[in-house]
């Protein structure tokens, strides 16, 4: 059970993308690696699903993109946070923490019958 991969909850991928892009502009491949480096190994992320998410976020003006040259000297599309994206990150991060704390409180409260 501890080694079992976990599915990413809805909305989490967008939050993770917004968070790692606070480091600066990155292409999709670097975004996936940055998410994994930050401790997301237990989460099952089909790498390709990042791209439709990136395109939707760009369309909603959370991200902007431009073509550049990667570390391996290849043409790559780099994404960066827009001001709308920064505001969304703040809002989503706060909401995520509140939900997480609330769920944690329920889980941590002993059943009265056994208290």
């Amino acid at each position: 059970m501890p080694n079992q991969e976990l599915d990413l909850p809805p909305g989490a991928l967008e939050l993770l993308v917004l968070k790692v892009l606070t480091r600066g502009p990155m292409h999709g491949y670097a975004i996936v690696r940055a998410i994994q480096e930050r401790g997301a190994e237990p989460l099952r992320i089909e790498e390709g699903t990042l791209y439709p998410a990136l395109h939707r976020m760009e369309r909603r003006d959370l991200l902007s993109s431009e073509w550049g040259v990667s570390e391996s000297n290849r043409r790559a599309k780099f994404y960066r946070l827009t001001p709308t994206g920064r505001a969304a990150l703040k809002e989503q991060e706060s909401a995520w923490r509140r939900v997480s704390e609330a769920v944690g409180r329920v889980l941590d409260t002993p059943n009265k019958k056994w208290a």
Binding site: E47, T49, Y51, S70, A76
Partner: protein, 374 residues
């Protein structure tokens, strides 16, 4: 128009100004970069290139579906713009039509009226050519899109030697087999033949995963076995890979083969992408029936409007005949002859066809004699 839509809140930002072909090329380049970077990392970690590429594709997920989702997100906006423009133009045409009708009796010259009608029909035809058939207008066909193909990650697949293996092993073997002679188009065609002969949807599933690793010489050949000799049930899905290809020569071939299914020239700007968005997830029989019916109604409608079909008027419609493969309809169980007969194509007289160019007349006569023989 864009500024107005933006102001109305239809778009969060200004619409994309790239052509649909450029959008498709950018999506290909972006996704290919990810797969190749992963493969490069795996090679550095000790894997051989073929295994690294297969593993990179496995980690990436369903390449075809992801590519399609990206295309829908990016092209949806452009397609919506085109539809808004079609609707506005149609309204304008209706307004002109009402005006012409109201002035009908006052018109002194019949030839002037005919010229105006001709101009109007030409504009309608141009609008029809620039959009896909509307399925909800066709009798007996569902208006909703069919379910998208769900990738099957389980089960066994045949590798090039005919051995049953898991999908990752099959993908690795097929990549390796194609790569043995990347520059040899005959080798690509031979392997494509074998892929198309795999049972069920195995061929298209494997192809959609290995497609980004194929050379241009192979991608140019890959579609033939899925279209020739009666066609394959997944032909539209395979041709869709080509229609979104970043290389012109590959895209042109895919568009040419798709004319059997679309009954229109898909090389006009934007038509291919719009058509694909509408039809690629539908069963092949439905695609063939709906698109052939739309063509027959359009040509039959033009024909019914005149005592003699005007010279040059339906040439673009009739050119399709050169590229359509009727045997594909037979394989799919669709009665093409009945569709053409229901729209009066077989009843056009030589007097009605008199003004057509010899080549256009010949095209109609070929279709008529084929209909009568069925």
């Amino acid at each position: 128009m864009s500024a107005l839509l933006e102001r109305l809140g239809l778009f969060a930002r200004a619409p994309d100004t790239r052509s649909l072909a450029e959008i498709a090329g950018d999506i290909d380049a972006e996704l290919a970069f990810h797969v190749e970077e992963t493969a490069r990392e795996l090679v550095a970690g000790g894997l051989v290139p073929e295994e690294a590429h297969a593993e990179a594709l496995r980690r990436f997920g369903d390449y075809g579906r992801i590519r399609r989702e990206c295309a829908r997100t990016q092209m949806g906006e452009r397609i919506m713009m085109q539809r808004v423009q079609v609707v506005l133009t149609a309204l304008l045409i209706v307004a002109v039509g009402v005006l012409l009708w109201s002035n009908h009796e006052a018109r002194a010259s019949m030839s002037a009226e005919r010229a105006a009608s001709m101009a109007m029909i030409a504009r309608i035809e141009e609008q029809l050519a620039s959009r896909s058939p509307q399925p909800e207008l066709l009798d007996g066909l569902p208006a909703v899109r069919g379910p998208a193909q769900v990738p099957d990650d389980s089960g066994e697949y045949l590798d090039p030697s005919g051995k049953s293996v898991d999908r990752t092993a099959a993908v690795t073997s097929w990549i390796s087999t194609f790569r043995q002679q990347s520059d040899n188009w005959r080798h690509g065609l031979k392997q494509a033949d074998r892929l198309a002969a795999l049972p069920g949807s195995q061929g298209v599933e494997i192809l959609s995963r290995i497609y980004p690793t194929l050379s241009t010489a192979h991608r140019e050949q890959i579609f033939k076995p899925f279209v020739f000799d009666g066609g394959h049930r997944d032909a539209v899905e395979v041709l869709a890979l080509g229609l979104l290809d970043g290389t012109n020569s590959v895209r042109e071939r895919a568009a040419l083969y798709l004319e059997t299914y679309a009954w229109k020239n898909l090389m006009y700007g934007g038509v291919a992408d719009t058509w694909l968005a509408e039809w690629r997830d539908r069963p092949v029989a439905e695609v063939l029936r709906a698109n052939a019916t739309a063509w027959a109604r359009e040509f039959g409608g033009v024909a019914a409007m005149y005592e003699q079909i005007p010279a040059g008027h339906p040439t673009r419609l009739l050119e399709i005949i050169d590229h359509v493969r009727p045997e594909v309809f037979a394989t799919a169980g669709v009665d093409l002859a009945a569709i053409l007969r229901e729209n009066g194509i077989d009843r056009l007289t030589s007097e009605q066809l008199r003004l057509l160019s010899p080549s256009d007349r010949e095209r109609v006569e070929i279709v008529q004699s084929w209909c009568r023989a069925k």
